[in-house]
Subunit: 369 residues, 4 copies
């Protein structure tokens, strides 16, 4: 069976997923065969060029038409596009893979998760960092109780592309279109990773105090005007987990000198972990009985996904996480199986983001239940 | 002129300060001459042994008697001892050097600062990390605007000596005696460093949301019983600075694998800094126009205090911060000059700690004014 | 025009190059179109499976037949296969891309370089580390005199896959088949990088003292016997460059805990560099006037090859060096242009390797001229 | 009993040892009592000032007079002063502690070692890096077979204070006065550490190939003239150990950006180690069964010498190695015991240095036996 897929979005995420799908046959020979059937967008010329380069059979400017003709639908557009077409696909019984954050608002995310539940087809929220081998390895250590009871979770995501106040306005800076700023774009990744890694041991996040900050209130547009920035440049939060662990979270697009510095640190009663996305092949592990953090290069044949790639020490890159993610999602589609992170996971993260926003507005700690 | 000094406390801090004073003549020949006149404590035998080893002329179990006979009084006892004898000394016109946090409660700290203001003699709160050469160098970079407008301050202090639930009860775990736990013991250092480094540019901390956590509720005592732990094992806070910067703070004694990991990171519109106490000779600096963080070994002859020590790359240790601190304090005493950090600084930090505690209790953001 | 290519070898290197070629259309749209025409090997079944997975139109067990039918020939077999078929292809006017080291012996390398000179078609020796963006960036810094006069070059390549004396015998351990051990397999990369980076400023290596070491003299074979190891497990060398710089080189397959640790350090009169393959997106740079090494993440859009990939901080992997290398080689083939590193470069490195072997045998420093 | 000691030399090393001795009572209460009796030098005024600051009772310009009146003699003068007064003291039955390298030439070192053997009193060569806690800990790991059979030793010592060709001439740059340059000054430390760490397991160095290099042939003097540099700015060597391990050694004073970067790496059949002097509280350890190097902060109470100092994570500095060294030497003097590293150790290292020089001159590998 060959799966026909339709993809909405042909820029950064469109390229990342198309590449991932294109690489499956050589490296994951047991993946289902995939036909990049149709690429969806609005600008016909740009779309046509992209389809050519990304290996799609045809293009359309009508998402509904695409949805009708495919076995799986990738919703990689701006956040505000996520709800409508994801729900439409699900209602048509078409599996959906949607970029993160799941939706601009928690209300929309709830509708999407509801649609997913009713559809009963594979649905995924594209938290690709779950598919970093070092992160999978970290999870296996936590699951096998190498860390003991979880005490601390620390996650931060630092970038610097908005430090310059003259950096241009973009859809990501508009609350209507994006929902939130660094919170949804970067924080969603961090919250999801925290849930993925310690959810089984520490439970869900049960309370948060949050703070948002916008450093630059308006930015230039292409037409020489300025436009208001209506989302956060940075968020900070402290959190309580059901099981008693505490968490500290932060993301910013104003961290001068940090390009893509997504860091997770976890400390338990027996051991600890550190991970940084800029060195994504490495995991620092403190085991019971050892005296310091071990710098593990997670590139051995029995490390997650590594047997598909290269010998030890021949490091992989950021894009490989998309290959793993697509392998899992498309396998689930082919086998009518389950995929995680699902829309349910996307919603759970969205609820935390919303609570952070609510806490920022009210100045009060917010409980999730 | 020789300064006679009296020191209350002869364990960890007593040793650290006595050593510092003893080293001044060889390395800081322009420091005032100091006579370690009297060591104050309760256990006469232990006190006498300590006086011998630490080079004191005599001992007493009566702090008041000591205060009367010295040119400067070091209050290095447990936190609950800080207010009474510090105030007594100040009222007698004797300069006081007091360990941190200044007092168990902000109320007592206010009384101490008031006494210091009225006394008009040098008074110091022992935030020794201000005297790390790399931290002084960091401050000079910030003052000369190398970082531009400050956006982010991130401070955390991770230790692991209370991870073991069988670690014994001690005075530091009692609210009456210590005021707070990791918050006052470790967090006080972090808040003071933040104030020291960015206070001039970002202003004071104006708002905080705080969260405390005690992982182990009771601990064994020497007599085979258990005793309640009434302070925090960890605190987390987010903060707002007057000038618009945001801060994230945390300390814990339950961070498995971290021994004395006090980290400060600051990001500004033009540059950034990172510092870690476990590598205290190093500062990581991101300058305007450069592409990455420079790892600077702050051991050059023109670095703060270094000309007194060794050639470049011959690293100094934790204890050297006490030598610098004592040099500055004793010079201020000899010259009837001013010393920073003063009781005023101790109080300012205490107010932030109190606000964090209040926020933890109320679940609401707390404003400082 | 579409280039038909033939590839001899379908294991590690065959997969790495096939993948690279397959990825060109999406990421390097101006690369020539390539048809993976024929895959060459001896074991028909394995070959057929590989051809399927690696995207080749057909297979053959006759290299000569393949050579006749292609526009470029990739010689990715074991070292002992390099000379015969590379020369055959060149004599047929077919561009050749040959894995490193160029040949088992310097005599064969000379014949190959001679054949390349006479053929006048593009020829390449696959020193892929020249195509790491951080290495290209390093070269640009050296060329623009950021390091000044070169004083020191330090290169080492540490792996550990032969530490276990029970690791099985393989062709790489036989002098007839491989020429040498760690020297040719790993040292060839190091010597080539040194030549690439400082050749223009420091000149060629003019003298070496070398030492080889075999830690395990025989190893088990698949049939339960043992077979002699006739190559080195490790080499060490000191070197003199024409321009006065000195070099220290080493490689080993017995460095417990090091997986693929290829490190180059260069110090000049004004600045210095450090690079490590296990963190291949990073370059440490010490610039004139700065105080420490800057850790540069070489993933900005204007860094070599990066505009073809992902945004800043979205790191690439080891395999990307093959994409860049194939892009350059195939472009040279399409345009009848020149490619570096060429067979001439392969020969230059081989001469250094041979001098190290000669020095090891004689105990005397060996001059190259 | 109080030991009267005499010290020749009052600059860098004089200060380092005087400080160390002064600190013993507070931190090593079981050390013998020491009276800094007499400081020896040539410039009476500078000498008198130094004696004051370093705590000596008196001064003399006559080493022989000092030797007669003390219980131990510290020879901390320039290298060319080492032989005469060390031998004089030993012949007078006075224990001697001599700075490294033991002598300018191996011939003189042999005479010194012979004098030490005949005197039968404690004698020490000041290889202070043997007294770094992390190095002692490393040795304990090697002795308890955590590394298995030693395969590789790698040592390099990088400084940059002679990169500037205008850096002034000094006695260290004259062969008559210093014996050699970076080789004796820095290389002696590295060779001694290698012997200390792996001598028991890998045996002595049995063969070397060496290369010396002088980058700047003459340098300005204080009187505005220039003077010839007759020693090496850098050395490189490869070595063979009796037990089959191989070694790579290097030192330079021209490594731009490296201040005091003394690095030792050791790889064995079961585990590996890395140490760097600029982070002297840390040891990187790869243990059997672990996946990566553990970064161990060697500051726990049961680490070598640490119980005398501060709690875990409160790092020590370079100077502390002198305290440990003096504690051991003076204890040996008080108890008429033995001290290592002795003159015998100084001589063993000197033989390796001489073999490196000989190999540089002859171009041939040199055997030591």
């Amino acid at each position: 069976m060959t799966l026909d897929i339709g993809v909405l979005g042909y820029r950064f995420m469109g390229k990342a997923h198309s590449n991932a799908i294109a690489r499956l046959p050589m490296f994951f020979p047991d993946a289902p065969e995939v036909n990049r059937e149709v690429l969806v967008g609005r600008d016909e010329e740009a779309l046509s060029n992209a389809a050519d380069r990304l290996g799609f059979s045809r293009t359309t400017t009508d998402p509904s038409e695409a949805i009708e003709s495919v076995d799986a639908f990738y919703n990689l557009g701006p956040n505000f596009v996520h709800p409508e077409y994801s729900i439409e696909a699900l209602e048509a019984g078409v599996p959906v893979f949607c970029e993160k954050p799941l939706a601009p608002t928690v209300g929309e995310a709830e509708e999407m998760a509801e649609a997913a539940r009713e559809a009963g087809v594979p649905n995924g929220c594209a938290f690709n960092y779950r598919f970093v081998p070092a992160i999978r390895y970290a999870k296996s250590l936590i699951e096998s109780d190498e860390l003991g009871e979880i005490h601390h979770v620390r996650g931060r995501y630092l970038q610097d592309w908005l430090v310059d106040p003259e950096a241009p306005w973009a859809w990501r800076l508009d609350e209507e279109l994006a929902g939130s700023g660094a919170l949804g774009d970067l924080g969603a990744h961090t919250i999801d990773l925290a849930r993925f890694l310690v959810g089984g041991e520490a439970g869900e996040i049960s309370e948060v105090s949050g703070q948002l900050r916008t450093f630059t209130d308006e930015r230039p547009t292409e037409d020489g005007e300025t436009r208001e920035v209506t989302v956060d440049d940075a968020y900070l939060a402290t959190a309580q987990f059901e099981g008693g662990a505490v968490g500290s979270f932060e993301a910013t697009r104003n961290a001068t000198g940090h390009k893509n510095d997504h860091t997770i640190e976890i400390e338990g009663s027996k051991g600890s972990l550190k991970f940084s996305l800029e060195r994504l092949n490495e995991l620092e592990v403190l085991r019971e009985g050892s005296r310091g953090f071990e710098t593990v290069l997670v590139t051995d044949p029995d490390d997650p996904y590594i047997e598909h790639w290269w010998p030890p020490g021949h490091v992989i890159g950021w894009e490989h996480t998309f290959v793993h993610e697509n392998y899992e999602f498309l396998s689930a589609v082919a086998e009518a199986g389950e995929f995680e992170p699902s829309f349910e996971d996307g919603l759970a993260t969205q609820r935390v983001l919303a609570a952070i926003q609510e806490s920022d507005a009210s100045g009060e700690r917010v409980s999730l239940d």
